[in-house]
């Protein structure tokens, strides 16, 4: 399923939502704990691996811009996900429509079917395919947009959430 090609990792969510994402390179604890550490001569270190990962593993806009290997991989997998979605929808629409002549040629009885005096061929060719095209097109538009939103969330959360 191509829609899952670009699922957002949990660490990316941190970048988007946690206000502390900016100083994630200092994985030490905050002010009050630091004060008590000086007094007792011990230092309490809180290891938060997800915030460290943010800086190194999540491709950002700069990767895409500078064409780093990471950015290239991201761009290719995004294009591949979009292509997969397109081909899936295309295959669906083509299979349903283009199989009708073959079926009619192999089973001629199909063309003899009438419904309330109206030949099946007329119903299929005159009316039935259009709702299918609309449904496939609607589904594709929704999925393609979702892929784009996922990518935007991943590399540039700020552009999606101005308040973050």
């Amino acid at each position: 399923m191509p829609a899952h090609g670009l699922s957002r990792s949990s660490s990316a969510q941190v970048t988007g939502t946690a206000p502390s994402a900016g100083d994630a390179t200092v994985p030490a604890a905050g002010g009050a704990d630091a004060g008590s550490a000086v007094q007792t001569g011990r230092q309490r270190v809180v290891w938060r691996p997800d915030q460290v990962l943010v800086q190194h593993d999540i491709p950002g806009l700069s990767d895409l811009r500078d064409d780093t290997s990471c950015g290239r991989l991201l761009a290719r997998s995004f294009v591949r996900a979009q292509l997969g979605l397109s081909l899936m929808c295309l295959t669906l629409a083509l299979t349903v429509t283009a199989s009708f002549p073959v079926i009619a040629a192999m089973v001629p009885a199909v063309t003899r079917i009438t419904m309330a005096g109206v030949p099946l061929t007329l119903i299929v060719l005159g009316f039935a395919f259009y709702p299918l095209f609309l449904a496939v097109g609607w589904f594709y538009n929704r999925q393609a947009r979702q892929l784009e939103v996922r990518l935007t969330d991943l590399v540039d959360p700020a552009s999606r959430r101005p308040d973050a």
């Binding site: 002549p101 395919f129 609309l134 097109g137 538009n141 784009e148």
Partner: protein, 576 residues
């Protein structure tokens, strides 16, 4: 009778000119002039695309072909709609994001080569002119039917009106015109179809029964407008007044054998209910036994119907991507997302429209089988309303149909002329607005003259051929250019030349009458079945052999085509 129709046609033409001329004041820079400044909202743009797309073939051709050849001809309307679904799935958003004006612009921007640009431009001209011919033919037969003028008058009128309108208004005007044309066309085919459907609701479905030749459902007197040859599928009793089979009758009953007959002009033949409908020898193919078959036989003399059907399916499904006058419209969307929305609305608008030619064709089959005596299947839609509804209502509906038909020719040929003239002036002359105007006028003249030579081919067939050329040339270029990094300019050029060239050669051979029977007729008459795979294959193989010429900026171009605008604005330093 023609008065109302003449008035309606004149009204549509004048309105088109006036709305188009308004655009002259809006158009300021050449950019505005060419693509309407990219500020057209999706709903308006979708109606404009549909208005431009629904041509003579959709308005007159499909219904006529369904009547004369059978339900298989509906593959044309299915395919014309599916073409937009394929376009939506494969090219709509990336193409808009790429941001070029025309197909040659796309080819050069993606692959960068002067030779490729000229090849693409030459193909724009071929497809554009090929597509203009049926529009001119449609205008010819419509005016012929309404006014009784010779065929060339209608073709020439359309040529003059469209060329002048384009030369004056450019595309800003045309966007409004095209949008208006869609709704006009929908009304002009939808209202008559619904009115006639309601008026005829008592009809029987006897003519829809599989394997039945059409019969008169009630006693009918048929008048021959001109000397007509026809056949009957079985013997029939009839009362004849006038010249029939070289004998003069004056209202006597006669027994007509199941064979060929020739009736003189003005001869009236009265058939009883249940009598077989006579079928004109001028109809492309005698209809009857196989009317309900889902196969299409147009252009191949009825041989190998399954292959011919797939030929049309491939040509129409993949041809819309390569139509030069349609792609120009995608650059007027604000962004890629809007391009996708626009295309989906187009699919909706086309689906709605194509319900009605089907209804009209079925009404003809069921209630007016005497139209099988028409000399040209393309005029059936024009003749139907007056036959089914005698008197003023029928006349008004006929006028509406004639006006809608004329709107179809006007809008499609306007769009085609814009792209043909744009390609000519942009690539072969200095690029100013004046050059564009002169190119519009000269391209219109050439198309009008050529249209005088294609009168004997049906509209749907001619338009289907334009789609076949587009599918076997520009479709591989666009699809592979958007999705495949390894495409090279040499591969693309080879695909255009071999795919487009072989398709064009096959069609010209068919027009000249080569191979009327057997597999030859299928391969030449519906060439898309082999030229489209050939074009894709050649493009891919030659590209793989010339990998050293892959453009250096391919990664950047791919990003620009596929990233949403919010991102590509920030990642692209060099372009935009």
């Amino acid at each position: 009778m023609p008065d109302a129709a003449i008035g309606a046609i004149a009204f549509v033409t004048l309105l088109t000119i006036i709305v188009g001329a308004r655009g002259i004041r809006v158009a300021r820079t050449p950019d505005d002039f060419m693509v309407a400044a990219r500020q057209v909202p999706p709903a308006l743009n979708a109606a404009a695309i549909s208005g431009e797309y629904l041509s003579a073939a959709s308005f007159l051709g499909i219904a006529g072909l369904v009547v004369s050849q059978g339900l298989g001809a509906l593959w044309y309307s299915v395919g014309y709609t599916a073409g937009y679904l394929v376009l939506l799935l494969l090219v709509a958003a990336p193409l808009r994001r790429f941001g070029a004006y025309t197909i040659p612009d796309f080819a050069v921007g993606r692959l960068g080569s002067r030779g490729l640009r000229q090849t693409a431009t030459a193909l724009v001209l071929v497809i554009g002119w090929f597509y203009l011919l049926p529009q001119m033919k449609g205008a010819g037969i419509t005016l012929q039917w309404v006014l009784g003028t010779p065929y060339w008058v209608g073709a020439a009128t359309l040529g003059v009106v469209v060329s002048c309108n384009i030369a004056m208004g450019g595309m800003k005007g045309i966007t409004f015109v095209q949008c208006f044309q869609y709704w006009l066309k929908l009304c002009a085919i939808g209202i008559p179809a619904l009115v006639l459907l309601i008026a005829m609701r008592h009809g029987s479905s006897v003519n829809l029964t599989p394997d039945r030749a059409p019969v008169f459902t009630h006693a009918t007197v048929v008048t021959m407008p001109q000397a007509t040859g026809f056949t009957l599928t079985r013997p029939a009793e009839a009362t004849v007044t006038g010249l029939l089979d070289q004998r003069t009758f004056s209202g006597q009953a006669a027994r007509l054998c199941a064979c060929r007959h020739v009736a003189g002009a003005g001869t009236r033949i009265g058939f009883a209910a249940g009598a077989p409908a006579p079928v004109s020898l001028a109809m492309e193919q005698p209809s009857g036994e196989s009317w309900d078959s889902p196969f299409l036989t147009s252009g191949t003399s009825g041989t190998h119907p399954l292959a011919a059907t797939y030929g049309v399916i491939i040509a129409t499904f993949f041809g819309a991507i390569g139509l030069p006058h349609i792609l120009v419209r995608f650059y007027t969307n604000p962004d890629g997302e809007a391009a996708r929305r626009t295309t989906l609305i187009v699919v909706l608008l086309l689906s709605t429209f194509y319900l009605f030619p089907t209804v009209l064709a079925v009404l003809t089959r069921v209630h007016a089988p005497q139209l099988y005596l028409s000399s040209d299947s393309d005029s059936i839609v024009l003749a139907l309303p007056a036959l089914l509804l005698p008197g003023l209502p029928g006349e008004l509906l006929a006028a509406l149909v004639a006006a809608g038909a004329f709107a179809a020719f006007l809008s499609t040929s306007s769009g085609l002329l814009v792209s043909v003239a744009g390609a000519l002036s942009h690539d072969f002359m200095n690029r100013g607005v004046n050059a564009f105007r002169w190119c519009a006028i000269s391209a219109g003249v050439v198309a009008t003259i050529a249209a005088l030579l294609v009168g004997r081919f049906s509209l749907a067939l001619l338009v289907g051929w334009a789609f076949a050329i587009a599918a076997s040339s520009f479709c591989p270029l666009m699809v592979l250019g958007i999705w495949w990094r390894r495409l090279t300019r040499i591969g693309a050029t080879a695909g255009l030349v071999i795919g487009g060239g072989s398709c064009l050669a096959a069609i010209v051979a068919t027009m000249l009458g080569a191979a009327a029977r057997g597999w030859g007729a299928v391969f030449l008459g519906q060439p898309a079945i082999w030229t489209v795979p050939l074009a894709f294959g050649v493009t891919v193989v030659v590209s793989l052999l010339t990998q050293r010429t892959v453009p250096a900026n391919v990664s950047q171009v791919m990003l620009r085509m596929h990233l949403p605008e919010t991102l590509s604005r920030q990642t692209n330093r060099t372009i935009n």
